[in-house]
Structures are given as structure tokens and as C-alpha cells.
Amino acid sequence: MYWQEEYETITRDKLEELQLQRLQQTLQRVYDKIPFYRQAFDAAGIQPGDVKSLADLQKVPFTVKQDLRDHYPFGLFTVPMDEVVRLHASSGTTGKPTVVGYTKKDINTWADLMARAIVMAGGSKKDVLQNAYGYGLFTGGIGVHYGAERMGATVVPISGGNTARQLMLMQDFGTSILTCTPSYALFLGEEIHNAGIDLQNLKLRVGIFGAEPWSERMREQLEAKLNITALDIYGLSEVIGPGVSMECPEKKGMHIFEDHFLAEIIDPETGKQLPYGQPGELVITSLTKEALPIIRYRTRDITVLNEDTCGCGRTFVRMQRVTGRTDDMLIIRGVNVFPSQIESVLLEFGDTEPHYLLVVDRKGSLDNLEIWVELNDKFFSDKIRALEDLENKIRGRILSVLGISARLKFVEPRTIPRSEGKAKRVIDKREL
């Protein structure tokens, strides 16, 4: 089943023709409207009119997350704010988030892409879709919600957390599709088991899981624990949100919605394009976005593209599960965390370079973040209460900046290993 068969099964020739036409329009749009892009293109010696084939895209400069931060909040929008009907944002390093905007047409496009994703997973109007992605500034919750309404499923907008209620509604409403992070799905699976709920009494059959990395091993666990088909979804707010690519039941990678997004794989060191089949960093150019088009955006996600024809009939290339990052970003309970964000919080409490280590572990199915901080003379007190107060203050700041709770552990000076050059800031013990 397809949501937009005309596009989802388009021939590669026709697709490339469409992509080139849309690419040229997008390049012209950003060049005309955004000084940042005009300067970058001029500096690289390229004009939108020079891009005469998809291969010419390689001459166009990259965009990185920092560019969005530098133009906080609306500096890269190509439409007046009158036309912007929605904003989303993710947490930032210095308290300033990365902001993305949508026109009515963007919201419409996004809803169609998410509708494609849900239909691709086997969803239909008959389904009850329990959406346990977080609602709010995060794109996950509302992104899935609009797509589900678009394709006609019955949406249960429960958002994340409140596990007891999740289980109750899952039984009472006859939920058949679950959307959330894979780790939360695993947790729900365990709670279903602990509550003694018989899987036979649930109507659950499909899970659409994303916003954090997972593995084939987790897929097996999820499918066994929940008695479902577990599928991977990919997206990032800078590009649009969830619904950039979606896995079909063939389970051989996620189809990138290439009529809206042009995907490249590059060598993260040299920036050179790599052929299909080789692992590298995914770079995406939006082809139809209005409010915030994005050109050659470096996702920092490492994957492989596969152009073989898929058994499902879709012609879009597939990207493998994201296997890593080219930067130090961590995803903890679905939240993107950069060590530098934690460093900036620690800097607020002391005047010197903090020595710290992030230890990430998965207890049961939920991620735990422990922040080890070397306790220097400035922090130290002879009173336990003073140290515990400090601990709570830092935890509180981290919660407000990152939106996740962490455990803080003070350690003795010079006990966190120093390394030559780049400090090792993260120990990730999670086995996905």
C-alpha cells in the first residue's frame, strides 16, 4: 500500500528530473533571499544557474548546525513571519536552541510524508495509533500526529511517559500501532510483562520507532516482547522532523523520500561525495521546503545508501540504520545531548575548565546519564550539605538546559583520564 503511489514508485529517471528542477528552484530561492547562502555561494564561486545537473550539487557549500545557531532565531527563514505557522526547537549549547520554521505548505508536506511512513508500515484508517513521542518543541510528537491524522488512523496523542496510563489505553482503546523511541517501547514491553497483561488481549501489531539509534538485536527483542513488526523511522528537525526516511516491512533500510530530500553520502574528513554502498556521512538538501530550505546539510549521521530495487515496489533509495555519528552527540532517552552543553552548565558553576566525564548506561531498557565531575577546591566544602546543594543545583540546570535528568557524581581531582589532544568526555556502555 502506498500513500502517494505516483511519487513513491516513480522511475529513477523521472525522479532525477524532478529533483533537478526542484533543486534549481531551491538554490535560487536561498540565494535570492538569504545573505548567508548568497555569501557562501559567492565565496565558493558558484551561482544557482551553474547547477545544471544533480552532480553539480557537489560544488555547492555545506550547511552545518552552527550556521542555524549563528542565525538564531529566524535568520535562515526565506519567508516573512506572516507565512510561518509553526516553530520547533531543539536544545542548544549556550541556552539558545536551534529553531526551525514551517509554512502551511511545509506542514502539509510533512503530514503527507509522515502519512507515507505510517502507510508504508502497514497502517490504515482502521488503526488506532498511540503516539508516545513527546509533544512540544520536539518535532517527534506533533510530526507523527499530523501524519496519522492525514492518513486517517485514530490518533491517541498520549505523548511520552505515564506508563500505567499508556498500558491502560493500549488495552482499552485497542491500540494497533505504537510510535515512540525504541528504548521506551522496550520499557513498555517489560511493563506489559510485569503487569501480567496477556499479549493476546492487545491488538498491537506495528511499532514505528526512531529519534535514537537502535539495533537488530533490539528489533528482535521488541518484536518478541510486544508481538509486533518493529520498523525504523528517521528524521531531524533541521531537515523537517520525523519522516525524512522510513523502513518498509522488507526491513532492509529506510526509504528516503527523495522527491523532497536529496541525499548524498560524503567522506566526513574530505567532504567528497562517496558512491552508493560506501559508509559515510549523510548530507541532505531539502527540495520543497519553503520557510527553512536547507542546502547540503551535514547530518553527522553515518549510514550507507542502497539503490537496489526494493521488494515493496518503492523506488526511493534506502539508508541503513544509522551506525554512528561524526561528532560527539549522544542520544539519551531520545534527547540529543552534546558534551559541550554539559560543559557550559559546569562552567556556570566554576571559573576554570571543568574536568568531567559522561557515563551513559542502559539499566533495564532506559538510558541513564551519570556526570562525573572532578571536585576542585572552588567547589569543595567541609559540609556535606553544601556539596549536596551544589549537586542539586547542577542537576537542576542540566534538567532545564537539556530536558533530561542526570546523576551527578563528584570524583577526586586527576581521576578522569586526560588524553593527548581531544579529551575523552564520554563512556557509552549501552549495548543497543
Binding site: 577546591d377 559540609k383 556539596l387 577526586e412
Partner: protein, 143 residues
């Protein structure tokens, strides 16, 4: 009338206390009184020693997080109600005690107790007015 206390940050892992005492022993520093306060993750060792400046220096060089705090050493009658009397004096003046601990040996027939209070000068004042004996650093370090 004040006594210098050394405080050392210790992670709750084996061998840390042994390391502190080894460093002090090597520098011929004698411990007069000590206490440890701890949480699940860490502890704070508080020490009164014969030579606080050398102790501070030695522990610092050994890589410990160390600080010094002024405390008072109070003679407490070694008899029932002895400590209660001191507490009452401080309480009446509204002086909160952060923590206290006892010395290992006595200077006289009375027991010797370390008091850590925020309002240290007021505490000294009120105790002296009530004829409580407070030992200064020089007396304490050379016990």
C-alpha cells in the same frame, strides 16, 4: 581561640583513607582528632593535626582536594550532662552547630570536642562568658 581544621574530599572507594594517612605519616604529621561524614558517593574527612599548614601542603601535593576551616576546641566536663550544658549555651544564643566530633586525648580532665559553627566569633564569646574553656590552636596542636 580558633583551631584550623583540614578537610579532605574522598571518593567512596577502597584505599583512599589509607592514602591520606600514609601521606600524613610520611610528613611526620600527627592526627589529634578526626571524623568522616559520608554519602553514598563520597566522604569528607575532617582532621585536627599537629601541623595544619604542612598537612594542607602535603595533601595538596598528593593531589587531594583539601580545604581549611576554622573550628573551636571546647573543653566539655567529662560527666553526665557535660555536653548538654554546652549545647544549651549555644542554643540560647541561636548558634547552629554544623557538626562536632571528639578528640582522641584529653588536655586536662575534661573531654575535648571540636565544634564547627557558622557564627564562630559569637560562639567563642558566649562560651567564654559562661566560663567554658576553649583551647586555642597552639594548645591543641601540641597536645
Amino acid at each position: 581561640m580558633k583551631v584550623k581544621q583540614i578537610s579532605v574530599f574522598l571518593e567512596n572507594k577502597s584505599g583512599r583513607l589509607a592514602q591520606v594517612t600514609r601521606v600524613l605519616g610520611e610528613q611526620n604529621i600527627n592526627i589529634r582528632a578526626l571524623s568522616i561524614a559520608d554519602t553514598t558517593d563520597f566522604g569528607i574527612l575532617r582532621l585536627i593535626v599537629n601541623d595544619p599548614d604542612s598537612a594542607y601542603q602535603a595533601l595538596k601535593e598528593a593531589g587531594f582536594t583539601v580545604s581549611t576551616t576554622d573550628v573551636i576546641a571546647v573543653e566539655v566536663g567529662d560527666e553526665p550532662g557535660g555536653l548538654a550544658r554546652i549545647m544549651e549555651i549555644l542554643q540560647q544564643r541561636g548558634i547552629n552547630i554544623e557538626y562536632l566530633y571528639a578528640f582522641l586525648q584529653k588536655a586536662t580532665n575534661a573531654a575535648l570536642v571540636v565544634f564547627r559553627v557558622e557564627l564562630i566569633d559569637e560562639a567563642i564569646d558566649v562560651l567564654q562568658k559562661n566560663n567554658v574553656n576553649i583551647l586555642g590552636g597552639n594548645r591543641v596542636y601540641t597536645l
